[in-house]
């Protein structure tokens, strides 16, 4: 009997620990530990005036390149010579992917595979070996090292899981002398041949915050729903928006949701119980529908809202007629790395930093994007840019993850 109580007490202790670690109701799951500084310090940490100004300016630049192929357009490119890599015959690409654990990455991954088919038929790429790091830095480092040692790769394509942790592994890949292409999230080295990304998080933050500030009045309240801390592209979105809200006198509170719709609903309900909420800002559209539904359930007016170009948000936006904006983190960038590889082996110049255009979808264009993507699943992204690829639209409609 006594032993059972000892065991029970031990279990209780273990459970409390589990609850601390594993409870979804805490908004700070996972990577919070590296970034446990209070909000003010975070702002200092992630806000970068120089980058803010650069991206702010890039929003207004007319990109160079073919107008109907935004994935080949570039903003303020500084071209580098790639003659040293010029070589004939099909090449093997090795792709170290951070994860496919959100609908944005899944959509891009499908598009990338269709782009691969085109290049395989063209004889530029023989095959692409992919390793999925499943959101783990350690796994991705191991993946890159595997590619370096045993992959027999002609070109490394890396979509880093996190910025600082992946830098040494990317440098090791560069040391092989083979071309390295980095896209989406960045690394702290300029050794890759090209770094492909849309304008960036600050531009997102500026677009969304300016929209909300225009639509709202000073003193209005905005609830900011953020997925997770510690990822640069997401942190920069909030860093820019928070600064602008602050300057405009908009009261903004931010929460980490893990994109869990139940959590989002609770947060919005509690905020609505505390007082009126005039605006909702999201650092990614995943879960936007749950946020809108929370307003419906509470029987109050829809907020002014920024989501993303995910179909679920566009559809809900259209259906409810709310005042909204769909910022875009250009999903078509998933086509660019393989095309860049083809250009590099052809000895063509590529930009050192390949900045792709990134334009939000305003209310006037919603109908157009809804019509163009009719029949696509809710997790699909309107600006996926794969309309001219083989398998369109069936492959994206079926959404079978390759």
């Amino acid at each position: 009997m006594r032993r059972r109580f000892t065991v029970a007490s031990a279990m209780v202790g273990a459970l409390a620990l589990f609850t601390l670690a594993g409870c979804t109701t805490d908004p700070n799951v996972g990577p919070a530990t590296d970034n446990a500084a209070p909000t003010e310090e975070e702002e200092v940490e992630w806000f970068d005036q120089e980058l803010f100004d650069k991206q702010d300016a890039e929003r207004d630049v007319v990109p160079e390149g073919p107008e109907d192929q935004p994935w080949l357009q570039m903003i303020n490119p500084e071209m580098v010579d790639t003659a040293q890599f010029a070589s004939t015959g099909p090449k093997k690409a090795c792709f170290a992917n951070a994860s496919i654990s959100n609908p944005w990455r899944q959509t891009g991954w499908i598009t990338m595979n269709q782009q691969l088919q085109v290049l395989q038929q063209a004889g530029a790429i023989s095959e692409m070996e992919t390793r999925d790091a499943q959101d783990s830095d350690d796994t991705q480092i191991a993946d890159i090292d595997y590619f370096i040692n045993e992959g027999n790769c002609d070109v490394f394509i890396i979509s880093p899981n996190s910025t600082a942790a992946m830098t040494p592994a990317v440098e090791r890949a560069c040391d092989t002398g083979k071309p390295v292409i980095v896209f989406d999230r960045g690394v702290q080295t300029d050794c890759p041949v090209t770094f492909i990304h849309p304008i960036g998080g600050f531009a997102w933050g500026i677009d969304t915050a300016e929209f909300l500030i225009d639509e709202l009045e000073e003193g209005d309240k905005v609830v900011a729903l953020r997925i997770l801390p510690g990822v640069d592209v997401l942190e920069q979105r909030w860093a820019a928006a928070e600064k602008l809200f602050d300057e405009a006198g908009i009261e903004a509170v931010d929460y980490f949701t893990g994109a869990d719709p139940a959590e989002i609903k609770k947060i919005i309900s509690d905020e609505l119980a505390k007082g009126d909420v005039q605006g909702v800002w999201m650092d990614a559209g995943d879960g936007a529908v749950a946020a809108i539904e929370a307003f419906e359930d509470a029987g109050v007016d829809y907020p002014v809202m920024t989501g993303e170009d995910e179909m679920s948000f566009l559809r809900k936006w259209k259906e409810t007629g709310l005042t909204g904006l769909a910022p875009v983190y250009s999903n078509f960038q998933w086509r660019t790395p393989l095309l860049a590889a083809q250009m590099i082996f052809a000895g063509q110049q590529v930009p050192k930093e390949w900045v792709l255009p990134q334009e939000p979808i305003p209310a006037e264009e919603v109908d157009q994007y809804l019509a163009a993507n009719e029949g696509m699943p809710d997790g699909h992204y309107a600006k996926f840019g794969g309309e001219d690829l083989p398998g369109y639209p069936q492959v994206w409609q079926d959404r079978v993850i390759p």
Binding site: M1, F5, A8, V12, L17, C23, S101, I264, A273, G287
Partner: protein, 377 residues
């Protein structure tokens, strides 16, 4: 006049008795819940509005139902760690199989119930016949289901099921006086709780408690322990299925829905004064534990506790509450029942360093004297 004077001591005694129940482990959770609700109301008076309160009940319903299911497993002496994954799997099944087709709702609902029962059956049979500790079996089941869900979805949200199906978790009877809306979730919670209370009072329900209290004695008294044990796992998986149906309505489809529910449920059950290892506990207190836990989260939201140290506050409060329940239980074990004489029990807590020789074997009379077995359930 005489009526009043004779009534006042009775009332006083009743009040004292009520207060004693509140500080006893069985009642502590209700006290905690009241304190939390009052604190929330002080911070935000509109919370006491009936229409807000009923929304709060709606929000807690899935957690409470999972806690009710977990109660039967724990009181029977086992654990079910797979509940959260069952919720996630059911949410994804509903999203993928129902889609936008209303006609699929009923067949898929039946399939989900069958799937839930099957998972429980597998857990129960492995625990009963392969003699693997339930902690391990259900941990394995949790990972297996989570992996299968991630494989199926790639870890991202798929589309929501048809709105008619989501009404179960989202909708309700509208335009009512006072509470404005009676969510279906609340109705389902009340039904589940009523069935659970009824079931726990039935001979079969008491057999579960007896099995958790003393498996040897239960076996000698002719209990088919494998079936009793397996049925508790089936109950818990089915309750997770019901919670999944409510959550897919309330929130929508996402692979993160249901994550951590097993620990929330176990914490709720323990907060409700149910003894880990089985044998005692009250199902209503387990449900109240779920309410107390959600009230705590809501309070932290309203109090504006920064998200960075919210987890720490949460954890500390849970440890304190559970430790309180554990110490009062131990006091009662060593001394006498707290309800009958709280003074004697606190006296007995300290000076009795070695109670085992005094109670060489599980003492049947002490067990039976406990209110849980007598009629508390």
């Amino acid at each position: 006049m005489s009526a009043v004077t004779s009534e006042s001591p009775t009332f006083g005694r009743r009040l004292a008795g009520f207060a004693r129940v509140l500080i006893s482990p069985r009642g502590a959770v209700f006290l905690l819940l009241i304190v939390l609700l009052v604190a929330i109301t002080v911070l935000n008076p509109s919370f006491a509005d009936p229409s807000q309160l009923i929304r709060f009940v709606q929000r807690v319903a899935p957690v409470a139902i999972v806690a009710i299911g977990q109660y039967f497993v724990i009181v029977g002496g086992e654990f079910d760690l797979s509940m959260g994954s069952v919720v996630t799997a059911q949410v994804v099944i509903a999203g993928n199989l129902i889609g936008q087709n209303d006609a699929n709702s009923i067949p898929v609902l039946l399939f989900m119930l069958a799937f839930g029962a099957f998972i429980g059956l597998v857990n129960g049979l492995i625990v009963s016949f392969l003699k693997v500790p339930s902690f391990i079996v259900t941990l394995g089941m949790m990972l297996a289901l989570l992996g299968a869900t991630l494989y199926w979805t790639g870890g991202a949200a798929t589309g929501n099921p048809a709105d008619s199906f989501r009404q179960i978790g989202r909708g309700g009877i509208r335009d009512l006086p006072v509470i404005d809306i009676l969510p279906w979730s609340v109705v389902i919670l009340v039904v589940v709780l009523a069935v659970a209370v009824w079931f726990a009072r039935r001979p079969f329900g008491r057999t579960i408690i007896a099995l958790g209290d003393n498996p040897t004695a239960a076996r000698f008294s002719g209990t088919r322990s494998w079936w009793v044990k397996t049925s508790t796992f089936i109950i818990s998986s089915l309750s997770a299925t019901v919670a999944g149906v409510l959550l897919v309505g309330y929130a929508g489809v996402h692979p993160s829905v249901g994550r951590g529910y097993e620990f929330t449920a176990i914490t709720a059950v323990v907060l409700g004064g149910v003894v880990l290892g089985g044998g005692r506990g009250w199902v209503v207190a387990a449900a109240a534990g779920a309410f107390a836990l959600e009230a705590l989260f809501t309070l932290l939201n309203f109090a504006g506790v920064p998200s960075t140290y919210r987890d720490a506050v949460q954890g500390a409060i849970i440890i304190l509450a559970v430790a309180y329940a554990a110490t009062t239980f131990r006091a009662r074990r060593r001394g006498r029942a707290l309800e009958t004489s709280p003074v004697a029990s606190t006296g007995a807590k300290g000076p009795d360093p070695n109670p085992d020789p005094a109670h060489p074997a599980p003492n049947p009379s002490t067990q039976r004297a406990d209110n849980e077995t007598k009629g508390g359930s």
